[in-house]
Subunit: 210 residues, 2 copies
């Protein structure tokens, strides 16, 4: 069986959990307590030298060390239901939106949080190396996240899903980013009717409870 | 025929050019002069509202607006030679390394450049919105890029390619990142013997001259 190195409160491993649930793949979860910096300890470093979750251990013992690798592997090994598009054009649309949500949404929120939270002093980036907080980057992250939600709201006008006509990896990444934004007090409101409608519909999928 | 919106001096469109060359795909290139901020003008905004290159126009008029979409589309439409892995595990390895090089290499170099170059005042990020430079982020970008090259050098010990046993998208992204780093005066040297050997071997591929 697959083993997911996970931390329930963190947004990045949630992306992997939702993907596994949508594909109906059984796995065992092992919690890595990020609050205790367990990801930086020798035990977890031997599993994933990048010191990040999620990581996915395969049945042969191989380890996938990030969401990009996990999604590519699961889509190729368990192709149904497809989460990264069926046709070439759909594959492009999902890849493009997924990357955009990561860079303009997810990363902006992470910048806002990690460069301001006292508990994250010197942990402005994930990974094995410490980096000092940059307060201006926290401010820029907030501005970028707000801008991104305005753009995503406009994009979702008349659309049921972020990319293509079906649920995809882009919806997963967007839901996790949107929910993650609460930690920096950004929530969609009356100014984001499409985003609100889409998030409500997404909430009806059982995978989103993970 | 495909049309690539390109700018010869910029690193991001070079990634698309090398991929097209490796797959042997014919295309027409249109230069978008980033020095003149042509990407922010109405004409290009009508083509790619994200105001970035590369963008790829398909024969049916559809537009792919970033490297993620371009790579996914080209791999699905022109599968040989594969640039994103053949097996599930190979696909994971390429996706993971490609994402890592983007985040830890490419972006670090871009942060170092765009937050320090006088010509990039208020253009600390690509795209349609202006963001002020953050000098501390330029410094952090330099440190991160140097750290990344140390890690990539260690990874390349005994390896011919960045991911899998064949040339892949991860090599393309890494070559472009390495060459891009010259703009912030980072070059591999005697401390990076594996990186030097790999870059020299890559230079023998005709695609790299693009």
């Amino acid at each position: 069986m697959l083993t997911l190195y996970d931390f329930e409160m963190a947004p990045s491993p949630r992306r992997a959990r939702i993907l596994l649930a949508e594909k109906g793949i059984a796995y065992t979860a092992i919690q890595v307590d990020l609050r205790q910096q367990e990801q930086l300890g020798d035990a977890f470093r031997a599993i994933n030298p990048r010191c990040t979750v999620p990581a996915l251990r395969l049945e042969d013992g191989g380890i996938l060390t990030d969401n990009a690798g996990i999604a590519a592997y699961l889509e190729a090994t368990y192709p149904e239901p497809p989460m990264m598009g069926r046709t070439a054009l759909e594959r492009a649309e999902v890849a493009s939106w997924n990357a955009r949500i990561e860079m303009e949404g997810f990363m902006a929120i992470a910048e806002a949080l990690r460069n301001s939270a006292p508990a994250m002093k010197d942990r402005a980036l994930t990974g094995s190396v410490n980096y000092a907080q940059i307060p201006e980057l926290a401010q820029r992250g907030l501005a970028r996240a707000q801008q991104f939600f305005v753009e995503l709201d406009a994009h979702l006008a008349g659309r049921e899903f972020v990319a293509t006509e079906r649920f995809s990896l882009a919806d997963i990444t967007a839901v996790v980013a949107l929910d993650f934004a609460r930690v920096v007090r950004i929530k969609p409101g009356d100014d984001h009717p499409n985003l609100m409608r889409w998030r409500k519909a997404m909430g009806e999928r059982p995978s989103m409870a993970t």
